[in-house]
């Protein structure tokens, strides 16, 4: 206050000094170059990965043949047999199973948390799920190996008493993956549901809609795009998960007889075979081919969700202000 009071009159008495309007800003240029470098680095790394993956993958496909790679049932790299069907079946069945036992319940849990839980409970629930989503997958895998696999073994004994089993297999993998993707799916669904305007909930309530009817007929339809995106992300994460699945899938390189017999998946088989695969051999290239399958799954999911998001944005922009 005092400074301003004394500076005021002084500035009026003395002629004002004008600052220069030209200078060379070295730092701006340096920062710009550094930022462009960072951007280019990430882009080049991604393109390089795609190029190497594509080149080796295509070589693998050429060496083995696409039909053998997709439909062959024997995977024995030591005998140059690369039938990828058990890997593909293991990946997709365990991921779909995870969506059924984990992602879909998580979607309804999000409806509960957003529409029915009290104002105090919902944030608490959300925090807990954020913690659950941040637990490393190896922890989930270890817990599953210690607790889930023995439980599956007991269950298998009840369901089919005549066969021996270790409890490892698709059932354990699906359950584990379901538990792992549930928090992420729940959080994404919750974000989508929380964007439903409260005016629509009021409208439904004022027309005699019960909270359940409002949730199912107004909130879910309004946020279905976000929820479908959440389910697909859950699927993609389950399909790509390696470490945890490795610990409970059993690692048998054959098609599973049922949900309780050991089998394998693309990502776990890559981990199993990589020590023995010499670079630039068919064995190595075929692992890249299988990686391509995973990449295609991810790209389809990304394109699909992008399409849905854009569609949703266009839908909103048609709304008059």
């Amino acid at each position: 206050m005092n400074i301003a009071a004394t500076a005021g009159p002084k500035a009026e008495q003395e002629p004002r000094e004008h600052g220069p309007i030209t200078r060379v800003r070295v730092l701006d240029g340096v920062i710009r170059v550094a930022l462009v470098g960072c951007g280019a680095f990430v882009l080049i790394a991604t393109i390089a990965i795609l190029l190497f993956l594509g080149r080796a993958g295509v070589r693998g496909i050429q060496a083995v043949g696409i039909s053998q790679l997709i439909s062959g049932v024997l995977w024995k790299p030591e005998a140059d047999l690369f039938g990828g069907l058990p890997l593909i079946v293991g990946t997709f069945v365990s991921a779909i199973g995870a969506v059924i036992v984990g992602a879909i319940p998580a979607m309804f849990a999000a409806v509960w948390a957003n529409e029915f839980a009290s104002k105090a409970l919902c944030p608490l629930y959300r925090r807990t799920m954020e913690v659950a989503a941040a637990i490393p997958s190896v922890v989930y895998g270890w817990l599953a190996l210690v607790y889930l696999v023995p439980a599956m073994e007991s269950l298998a004994h009840v369901i089919r008493p005549n066969q021996t089993t270790s409890g490892e297999g698709l059932a354990a993998a699906s359950l584990l993956l379901g538990i792992m993707i549930a928090p992420t799916v729940l959080l994404l669904s919750l974000d989508s549901l929380s964007r439903v305007p409260s005016a629509l909930r009021d409208a439904s309530a004022a027309l005699g809609g019960s909270p359940w009817q409002t949730a199912m007929r107004v909130c879910l339809p309004h946020s279905w795009r976000g929820i479908v995106i959440a389910l697909f992300f859950g699927f993609a994460r389950a399909a790509g998960e390696t470490m945890a699945v490795q610990m409970v899938i059993g690692g048998a390189r054959k098609l599973p007889g049922d949900l309780f017999s050991p089998t394998t998946t693309i990502s776990t088989q890559i981990v199993m075979d990589m020590q023995n695969a010499m670079p630039n051999t068919t064995g190595s290239n075929v692992l890249f081919s299988m990686s391509l399958v995973l990449l295609v799954v991810s790209v389809v999911v990304v394109l699909f969700t992008r399409g849905l998001t854009r569609q949703g944005r266009q839908g909103r922009s048609r709304r008059p202000a």
Partner: protein, 271 residues
């Protein structure tokens, strides 16, 4: 407090007024959003059948809170406490075992900002019927048409019933919301400043509609606009700082207000 009761008693005994049946009876209603502060205090008023009751008052005077307590919409807000009684045809709507969902099927509501569902025009109007369990397509169709005619929207939308309700103009959207509320055949319709977001022409249509609709449904309308209250209502209540200062015949209230606060408000000295 005493004034309110005498006013109510006076209007009831006034032989010049048309005979009426009481649709809703509110007694000593107090609504608190938190422990310390009440939004409305000891409100006693009646809603008559075949009549438009206008509620006026400055912003924050509690008129919207009062309106939302007539169909238990305040229940959706956490931490609201309600004391006193509200009766619908003699039944207490805050009584034990009362399902607010069923109350709201009989006491409909139209909001300040039009809020059509992102569904077709037809499905917007059919929504209330469907959630009430109506399955018959013919019944739904005829009730949707009737509601759209009642809300003076039918001629404008009859050729595009399956277009999105969000494609309508602001005034049409608000009339769609009125149609949606009318489709379930409520006995009372609550309107919370239904025209305040609309241009004068759309406002005139809504006012015209309100005047006509009182023949089929009792209407309680909250408005900022005193001319609007004078144009559409038979009785008017003036809320100030959470209290109902006075209520009576609309012409009497505007021409010969009995309370100093009412006179100050309607002559524009505050608010």
């Amino acid at each position: 407090m005493t004034n309110v009761i005498t006013v109510t008693a006076r209007t009831q005994s006034n032989p010049k007024l048309e005979p009426h049946t009481t649709k809703m009876r509110v007694k000593d209603l107090t609504v608190c959003y938190s422990a310390e502060k009440s939004a409305i205090r000891d409100v006693t008023i009646e809603v008559h059948d075949k009549e438009v009751l206008a509620l006026i008052g400055p912003s924050g005077c509690g008129k919207s809170t009062f309106l939302r307590s007539l169909n238990r919409m305040n229940d959706t807000i956490d931490g609201v406490t309600v004391t006193g009684s509200v009766e619908l045809d003699g039944e207490p709507i805050y009584g034990p075992n009362v399902d607010p969902v069923l109350v709201r099927r009989r006491v409909g509501m139209v909001f300040q900002r039009s809020n059509p569902f992102p569904k077709s025009i037809f499905e917007n109007v059919a929504y209330g019927l469907r959630i009430a369990g109506e399955k018959d397509r013919f019944t739904i169709m005829s009730k949707v048409e009737r509601a759209l005619r009642q809300s003076a929207l039918w001629d404008e939308v009859k050729d595009r019933l399956h277009d999105s309700g969000l494609g309508l103009s602001g005034g049409q959207q608000q009339r769609l919301c009125i149609a949606r509320a009318l489709a379930v055949e409520p006995e009372v319709l609550l309107m919370d400043e239904p025209a305040s977001a609309l241009d004068p022409i759309a406002t005139a249509k809504i006012e015209d509609l309100v005047s006509k609709l009182r023949k089929i449904v009792a209407i309680v309308i909250v408005t900022h606009n005193m001319q609007q209250a004078a144009r559409v209502s038979q009785r008017t209540g003036f809320f100030y700082m959470g209290r109902l200062v006075e209520v009576g015949d609309t012409m009497n209230l505007f021409m010969r207000p009995r309370e100093r606060e009412t006179e100050d408000y309607i002559t524009g000295r505050f608010g």
